[in-house]
């Protein structure tokens, strides 16, 4: 199934996202249990997160502060007063029979996060309706092997701090949705708010999607816009799944519209689950009545107040988010938007590595080229993080400096970079070990005289106006001495011929 492009399609796809992000805290939101992923089931639990009788929650202020940092990065307004509410429903992985969440007074609201396609395909500013904090539920594992159909409950995750981010329906294509999620993930990882690991469930996405279909009016006049019923898609396990599911769903809604002409408001909101192997969304069973969670303020917790000074301090401690950092790199190091995007998308540590290199080299463009063509390429091949990269910015700056000084050319520099990487030895040692030594000007002149004497045809051609004929001498020069600088050989030869 293919998705028509935005301009070609007879409709506009309207997408809003609801993202749940686990915060990177050591302990849970309302107790001291570890949030570590992957422990044996039910080993990171206590009376509070087990919901035992008599247990009480106490808010983890660090989790709240991290959530504030995320909300500030999403340009949200931080509420000076916020409270906790209970969302009541029965489920075995929810041991208290309610989830502590935030209902009518979320700690932050009204933000935005822009996503710009570096190739210029789209630029979209996505409004954030609200960001609130809540506790995660445990995990239900349905074991249907051997016909037992047992469900096992692991409550290690119960009580892990979770930020819910709800966007406005501002996205207009599955590609935009995927790109925006990448940007959100980058931002949250940059800020140390979350590791956003979808495999471990630290980032989960639900999407709401429908189509706006312009109808022709009478006599060719512009008509009204028909809106298809909104569908919520769940169970998407990667950003790629999100993109595929949205594309499938848009096409499915278009087909359904053509068959039924059903519009928004005529049917209850539908929830569909994404079946990744089959590549389809499937309707999930929904109840006749919508769920009534009977929210009310949690009487076991006190409201949280946030002062303007605390917001200012959180903002100051936050560091530049990726959007700001891209523009800053562009301006400071005079590199292209594309290059800045590539560097920033690799994470904060790589940007710091780049800036150290650029500072040592004294300019950004050359440093950026080396980053893109050598450092990043090698990093991708080797795997691992920039923190584990065996070559230092100082070593790369050393190589670049020698190239700029004319000791050797860039391709020779690359060989040296590869040798430094492989051997772990200092640049100077590698250069010496490869027999690379700067050739003195006197030696060069002598070498060039020898070459000119041996190649009268070249001399004649250059005199006849064909300066490019001198290039033939460079190869011969490198054979005689691999350390010669080709540009210098060429210039000296030309000068000598002129003086003949």
């Amino acid at each position: 199934m293919t998705t028509p492009t935005a301009t070609a399609a007879p409709y506009t796809t309207i997408i809003g996202l609801e993202v749940h992000v686990q915060l990177q805290t050591r302990t849970k939101l309302f107790c001291g249990c570890s949030t570590r992923f992957g422990g044996p089931p039910n080993t990171q639990v206590c009376p509070t997160c087990l919901g035992l009788p008599g247990s009480l929650p106490v808010m983890n202020r660090h989790a709240f502060d991290l959530a504030v940092r995320a909300a500030l990065a999403l340009d949200c307004t931080i509420a000076p007063f916020t409270k906790w509410d209970r969302k009541n429903y029965f489920y075995p992985d929810l041991p208290k029979g309610y989830q502590i969440s935030q209902y009518d007074l979320p700690f932050s609201s009204n933000g935005q996060l822009e996503v710009v396609d570096p190739k210029g395909a789209f630029a979209r500013n996505v409004g954030i309706i609200r960001v609130h904090l809540e506790e995660d539920a445990g995990k239900s594992m349905h074991d249907e092997a051997a016909g037992t159909a047992d469900t096992r409950i692991d409550l290690n995750r119960a009580g892990t701090p979770l930020c819910e981010i709800v966007t406005q329906p501002d996205l207009r294509s599955p590609q935009e949705a995927r790109a925006w999620l990448n940007e959100l993930k980058l931002l949250l990882v940059y800020l140390g708010v979350s590791d956003c690991n979808m495999q471990e469930g630290s980032l989960r996405v639900d999407a709401n999607v429908n189509l706006h279909i312009p109808l022709a009016g009478e006599g060719g006049a512009e008509g009204r816009v028909a809106k298809t019923p909104i569908v919520e898609i769940k169970n998407m396990n990667s950003f790629r799944s999100v993109e595929r599911a949205l594309a499938y769903e848009a096409a499915r809604q278009w087909e359904e519209w053509q068959a039924t002409k059903a519009e928004l408001g005529t049917t209850p909101k539908q929830t569909r689950g994404w079946d990744d192997p089959a590549g389809v969304t499937r309707a999930q069973r929904h109840k006749e009545e919508s769920s009534d969670y009977r929210y009310f303020p949690d009487p076991d917790l006190v409201p949280v107040t946030v002062t303007a000074a605390e917001v200012a301090a959180a903002r100051a401690a936050m560091g530049d988010p990726p959007t700001v950092l891209r523009k800053a790199l562009e301006a400071k190091w005079k590199i292209s938007a594309y290059d800045a995007d590539v560097l920033v998308n690799q994470g904060r540590d790589l940007v710091a590595w780049f800036e150290e290199l650029a500072t040592l080299v004294g300019e950004g463009k050359v440093a950026s080229n080396w980053m893109q063509q050598d450092v990043l390429r090698t990093l991708n091949e080797r795997g691992g993080t920039i923190g584990e990269f065996p070559v230092t910015p100082a070593a790369v700056a050393d190589i670049i400096g020698r190239v700029q000084k004319g000791d050797f050319d860039t391709s020779r520099g690359r060989e040296i970079f590869a040798a430094v990487l492989a051997s772990g030895r200092p640049v100077a040692d590698v250069v010496a070990g490869m027999g690379i030594a700067a050739v003195s000007d006197d030696d060069l002149v002598a070498l060039c005289r020898e070459l000119l004497a041996a190649n009268p045809k070249v001399v004649a051609d250059v005199r006849g106006g064909k300066e490019q004929a001198a290039a033939g001498l460079i190869g011969q020069a490198k054979k005689k001495n691999p350390n010669v600088n080709p540009a210098k050989v060429r210039q000296i030869c030309l000068d000598l011929i002129k003086g003949m």
């Binding site: 009376p47 087990l50 919901g51 035992l52 009788p53 008599g54 247990s55 009480l56 929650p57 106490v58 808010m59 209970r86 009541n88 029965f90 075995p92 041991p95 208290k96 029979g97 309610y98 409950i153 009534d292 009977r294 929210y295 009310f296 009487p299 076991d300 917790l301 006190v302």
Partner: protein, 508 residues
């Protein structure tokens, strides 16, 4: 030396001085429990071995010259709503019949750390919901003053065990009057502290914004002694107040000059038993004779106390009790038994009921079987009042009235130091008298619920007896954190009167 005759203050002093050993003291009360509790049913669990072992350890430490806690050797009975790691904690409910908590409530931890000897867990209305103790799933408590009458509730077992000399001190909890009303009906002294004074950690929640733990004893002085151990900030309870613990016992000695006590005319309107009214007026007169001045004050919104309470408390309860679903602990219905009603179990499973799933069936049937009728009634009331479309009309409006009630008290305490009046409209009523009329039962808390709604403290102590020989309770309420003054005023009254020293005739 007869431990049963000593106050808690004197008992602790006697143990400290070696006049009586902790074991002798504990044995005396255990013996009394054996002799009379078969008629009273105050205890759901008596930990004879644990208590004696504990007492022996305290005696050994004293002999070795080791340090003794402030309650060393004092037997204490604990309401079965407080978690104990060494005894089942049932809330007098089938739902938690076999539940053994993995931890001690903060109050229990403090009592043990103070070297108190916990003798057992006391009976109560199921999940602290009731005013007569008839809602216990296990046994009905009988009032030691007249075994055909109710002890009050929900801390009926705690009140009855102190009244019948089975423990010098008991711990109760008070959500709408559950310490003060049974204290009044059993002729003892009971303090409901200001909300946040005593940690609720390990107190099995009924209505979290109203629940508060307090001491029940023969006298205000004994209550003051226990308060010094159980009060104080707990970082594990977000609603715990961060104030320093006053020296309640020492503050009793300050003179009580110029005390202004408020009297609310509405307390003496329709519904108040004339004998109770007489006892309460005599107490006012006694305070006046002792130098206090009496002033008329108004609490204009107090008349909405009961309806406000019976919205807020069930709303919170409907959520607090959601965890009892059979999935993780507590009662779980046996699978596949069908949906027939089981005679004698007090529940009515409708034949032919269908469920969405086996899980839903397990939930529904576990809760149908595990909870008694009053608990179900309140869960349904609360669930209804919090439902979409009803929230604003019920819960949100109740919260607004609650603020008005609180403001009434703030205004009144501009004019007076304390407010006095009846604790309960009647003396102890007959068992069975109100148990089939939930609304009549709800009204037993009419003088007490407003203190819970306002979050302030209140104390009940005996101020006389009816012609039938039943105790009458006098209630004093004070501003937030005025417990030292409440205890001092009650103690001063008890130095001038002997109502609190009278004991029911309950021969061994």
């Amino acid at each position: 030396m007869q431990p049963l005759d000593l106050s808690a203050v004197d008992l602790v002093a006697a143990v400290r001085q070696g006049d009586v050993s902790a074991v002798q003291c504990t044995e005396a009360f255990l013996k009394r429990i054996e002799q009379v509790d078969g008629r009273v049913n105050a205890f759901l669990k008596v930990d004879r071995e644990g208590a004696l072992a504990r007492a022996a350890a305290i005696d050994a430490r004293r002999k070795a010259g080791g340090p003794l806690g402030p309650l060393a050797g004092l037997p204490v009975a604990v309401k079965d709503v407080l978690c104990t790691a060494d005894m089942p904690t049932t809330c007098a409910s089938r739902m938690l019949e076999n539940f053994l908590p993995p931890y001690d409530a903060e109050v229990v931890r403090r009592l043990r750390a103070a070297d108190a000897v916990i003798v057992g867990k006391t009976n109560m209305d199921e999940f602290a919901m009731g005013g007569s103790n008839e809602n216990s799933a296990f046994a009905t408590v009988h009032n030691p003053w007249d075994l055909t009458r109710a002890p009050g509730g929900s801390s009926g077992g705690s009140a009855a065990c102190v009244a019948a000399d089975m423990a010098p001190v008991a711990i109760g909890s008070d959500t709408g009057g559950s310490i003060r009303q049974p204290a009044a009906l059993c002729g003892i002294t009971g303090l409901k502290p200001t909300y946040g004074t005593v940690s609720r950690r390990g107190l099995i929640a009924f209505a979290s914004s109203l629940d508060q733990i307090g001491p029940m004893a023969r006298s205000a002085a004994d209550c003051a002694l226990v308060m010094e151990t159980i009060a104080g900030h707990d970082a594990g309870d977000s609603t715990s107040l961060p104030h320093a613990v006053p020296r309640y016992t020492e503050l009793l000695e300050q003179p009580l000059t110029g005390l202004r006590i408020g009297r609310v005319a509405a307390h003496f309107a329709e519904g108040l038993d004339p004998e109770v009214a007489r006892g309460v007026e005599e107490a006012f007169a006694a305070f006046k004779a002792a130098g206090a001045t009496i002033h008329e004050v108004e609490l204009p919104h107090a008349k909405y106390g009961i309806p406000t309470y019976y919205l807020i408390a069930p709303c919170e309860a409907s959520s607090n009790l959601a965890r009892y679903d059979g999935a993780h602990y507590g009662h779980r219905a046996e699978p596949g038994k069908g949906h027939r009603a089981e005679p004698g179990k007090g529940h009515r499973a409708e034949p032919g009921t269908t469920f969405d799933s086996p899980l839903a069936e397990m939930y529904c049937r576990s809760r149908a079987e595990g909870f008694g009728p009053e608990v179900k009634r309140r869960i349904m009331l609360g669930t209804y009042a919090l439902s979409a479309g009803y929230y604003d009309a019920y819960y949100a409006k109740a919260l607004r009235v609650r603020r008005l009630i609180r403001q009434d008290y703030l205004d009144a305490f501009q004019q007076v130091d304390l407010i006095g009046g009846p604790t309960s409209a009647t003396a102890a009523f007959a068992l069975g008298e109100k148990s089939n009329d939930p609304l009549a039962m709800y009204l037993v808390d009419m003088y007490t619920v407003t203190a819970n709604l306002a979050g302030i403290g209140g104390i009940s102590f005996p101020c006389g007896f009816t012609k039938a020989g039943l105790p009458i309770g006098f209630q004093l309420q004070g501003p937030a954190l005025a417990e030292p003054l409440l205890l001092r005023a009650a103690d001063r009254y008890q130095r001038l009167t002997d109502w609190h020293l009278r004991r029911p005739k309950l021969p061994a």
